[in-house]
């Protein structure tokens, strides 16, 4: 059935005369000229506007800030990769954090715990977008897809030198097409929300109710 359908559909689409479109230029890269400070400012404004928490830190202080955030939120546990550069540092100072959990097995083996027993997850990011206040997250074997989705709190670190002005710029500068797309790539711009009831914003519908961004300068 499917093969016949395919042939029929494509044949029908080939039938009509198609006018030349004349569209060649793709000139929609950033027309903004924002320096780092401006990008940080814009990013922060946008993130705060959608109720994300943003912390400005340095390479020396980010770990303290993450630790303080965990304490302030009263987290019982934190899901952190033991394999990433940042994750290793947290694991190395485990006593400053709530009970550390690791995503070291396929989801099927511990789905119940992930869905009902994890308070928060900590992940890195691939970059950020200043214009829209967005994190770029490319899940991996070390930091799988559900980490930034299932726990009620998501703490993400963004290094300021990977904060781009626009989405288009990030795609181009990071060479997404050339590198090949990962199985899943995400833009995350705030905590999960809905306005389906009377246009009133409610947070934490299916994804995290809280998004904490730790900006590292």
């Amino acid at each position: 059935m499917s093969n016949t359908a395919r042939a029929n559909i494509l044949a029908r689409l080939r039938e009509p005369q198609r006018p030349e479109c004349g569209f060649s230029e793709r000139d929609y890269l950033s027309r903004y000229d924002w320096d780092t400070a401006e990008r940080v400012k814009r990013f922060t404004e946008r993130m705060v506007a959608v109720r994300a928490e943003v912390h400005h830190t340095t390479a020396d202080t980010w770990l303290d800030v993450v630790s303080q955030v965990c304490a302030a939120k009263g987290l019982n546990n934190l899901l952190v990769s033991p394999a990433t550069v940042l994750g290793k540092q947290i694991h190395a100072q485990a006593d400053r954090f709530p009970a550390l959990k690791t995503y070291d097995q396929p989801i099927e083996n511990w789905k119940q715990e992930l869905f009902y027993g994890v308070d928060a997850a900590f992940t890195g990011t691939t970059g950020g977008i200043a214009e829209t206040g967005t994190l770029i997250v490319m899940p991996s074997a070390d930091e799988p897809r559900l980490m930034s989705l299932v726990p009620p709190v998501h703490i993400a670190v963004l290094e300021v030198d990977k904060l781009y002005t626009t989405f288009a710029e990030a795609v181009q500068v990071q060479g997404w097409v050339q590198a090949g797309m990962p199985t899943n790539a995400l833009l995350i711009s705030g905590p999960s929300k809905s306005a389906d009831i009377e246009q009133t914003l409610a947070y934490g519908v299916h994804g995290p109710k809280e998004l904490v961004v730790v900006l590292v300068e």
């Binding site: 198609r18 006018p19 793709r26 206040g133 989405f167 711009s189 929300k193 009377e198 934490g204 519908v205």
Partner: protein, 471 residues
């Protein structure tokens, strides 16, 4: 004769609460959209650019679909083609049977609505659970979406609170939006935990990279495509774009036009199932490419513009007809201006052709359309197709089926009079002279209006005193 459409419209116009719900929501959406485009010239530039991106993709549609398919397969995504909704449903059914699945959990998908998938699968004993909050609410009440991006917009908080209490009597009654949302979260989390097949729609398909893109705020789309071990995506064949660099401008204009957000919470780009070594994500990803009348629309160079649509709903939000009659009056999956051009083309002018008539052609829709679909022109064209005598030059389904002898004779007589000025003006003069004898009850016109008053004498008579030339 009062048509079914007019009967429904009458009934819905008589529900002040529903009308108030629509007004409040549409006013909010219009204001928020406007706030996103402070620079009018920039907006016009973006609309032109977005139109060009979509027009470019359509101009290469069969080639892009083949490139897309090749890249999806290379990425490990299984591609299925369906000419009709029925075929699409059967493809989904076969996948479910292979996995012995008795239920699926759905992210928001208008194409699945178009396919009537829930009904189809439920007759097979398969449970379909909607997980988008709005879709979840209307599914509880046995309704269909009244808006393509805000499916439960016709309901207010109190109605939803009562509905939740009726369906989940164990949970305490609340009218608090946060609490209602958390109730839904808990219920649906259990379902995401337990269900092995997830279904979603698609906003853009990128041919260049073999990527499926989903735009959403809640995470229902991410959950449905990530937590279950099988993900089935369904979408229309027109949703493809050529390159990844086409996506950022479309995404930006989509979210701003739709809900007045600079971007949604999640933009989810899926380019494959779980790879070796990865610990989550579905083991299988399927894409069902649905035609369902689209290739027929594609065959007409004028109507083709219909397929540029990126389903932002801005035309709906700005439509003075929609805001008054509400989404359910249309009796179709897609309501509002986009529905009024899409549905008659898909189902046929004999079935939904009246929707093309249910517009004042005011142009509020095309003024905001991010891809510049000339909706009033297409409505006009569909009116023409509906009543044309010679249907040999059009592929529109149901062409000529709306032509009636009496209406055709009326227009013929009118045209004859208007091309015989001496007689036409003698008639006008007579009408003004004997206007006292004209009826004051003009049927539909005079239900809320007085009968129009003719002047004492026509402009043609008065112009004689004006000292103007006549040629």
């Amino acid at each position: 004769m009062i048509t079914q459409f007019r009967q429904t419209v009458r009934a819905n116009l008589a529900k002040p609460e529903v009308r108030a719900n629509f007004y409040r929501a549409m006013d909010g959406l219009m204001t928020r959209r406007l706030d996103q485009f402070p620079d009018k010239a920039e907006l016009e530039r973006l609309r032109t650019q977005s139109m060009a991106i979509r027009a470019n993709a359509l101009s290469k549609l069969p080639e892009l679909l083949e490139t897309l398919e090749a890249n999806l397969i290379r990425n490990g995504i299984q591609v299925h083609w369906a000419e009709t909704a029925e075929q699409g449903n059967q493809i989904v059914q076969a996948i479910l049977e292979r996995h012995n699945a008795k239920s699926i959990i759905k992210g928001k998908s208008m194409v699945s609505e178009e396919m009537g998938m829930n009904h189809f699968l439920e007759t097979l004993g398969i449970e379909c659970l909607e997980s988008d909050l709005g879709e979840f609410i209307i599914q509880l009440d046995g309704e269909t979406p009244s808006h393509i991006i805000m499916p439960a917009i016709h309901k207010n908080r109190i109605q939803i609170a009562k509905l939740f209490h009726e369906k989940f009597p164990d949970i305490p009654y609340t009218e608090d939006v946060d609490e209602l949302t958390q109730m839904a979260r808990r219920i649906l989390r259990d379902k995401f935990y337990a269900t092995t097949v997830g279904l979603s729609g698609v906003n853009f398909m990128v041919a260049e990279t073999g990527t499926l893109c989903l735009v959403e705020n809640e995470g229902n789309g991410r959950m449905s495509t990530t937590a279950p071990s099988v993900h089935i995506a369904v979408t229309g064949i027109e949703k493809v774009v050529e390159s990844l660099s086409d996506v950022p401008p479309l995404l930006s204009i989509l979210t701003r036009s739709a809900t007045g957000q600079p971007i949604t919470t999640y933009f989810n780009m899926i380019s494959g199932p779980r790879k070796a070594g990865e610990k989550d994500g579905p083991e299988e990803v399927h894409l069902v490419l649905l035609d369902n009348g689209r290739s027929n629309i594609y065959s007409d160079p004028e109507l083709l513009a219909t397929l540029r649509c990126i389903r932002c709903g801005a035309c709906i939000n700005h439509c003075p007809v929609y805001v008054r009659i509400g989404g359910h009056s249309y009796g179709t999956v897609y309501p509002g201006p986009i529905g009024s051009i899409l549905e008659p083309q898909k189902a046929g002018l004999d079935v939904h052709g009246e929707l093309a008539q249910a517009s004042t052609l005011c142009g509020a829709c095309s003024e905001v359309c991010p891809v510049r679909i000339p909706i009033p022109s297409i409505l006009n064209r569909l009116r023409y197709d509906g009543v044309r005598k010679d249907t040999s030059n059009t592929h529109t389904v149901g062409s000529g089926k709306r032509r009636t002898l009496s209406e055709a004779a009326t227009w013929k007589t009118w045209a004859w009079a208007a091309t015989h000025p001496t007689i036409y003006h003698a008639g006008s003069t007579l009408a003004t002279r004997f206007k006292g004898m004209l009826p004051t009850n003009l049927g539909a016109w005079t239900t809320v209006r007085s009968a129009p008053k003719l002047a004492e004498s026509t402009l043609h008579q008065q112009v004689k005193n004006l000292g103007v030339d006549h040629e």
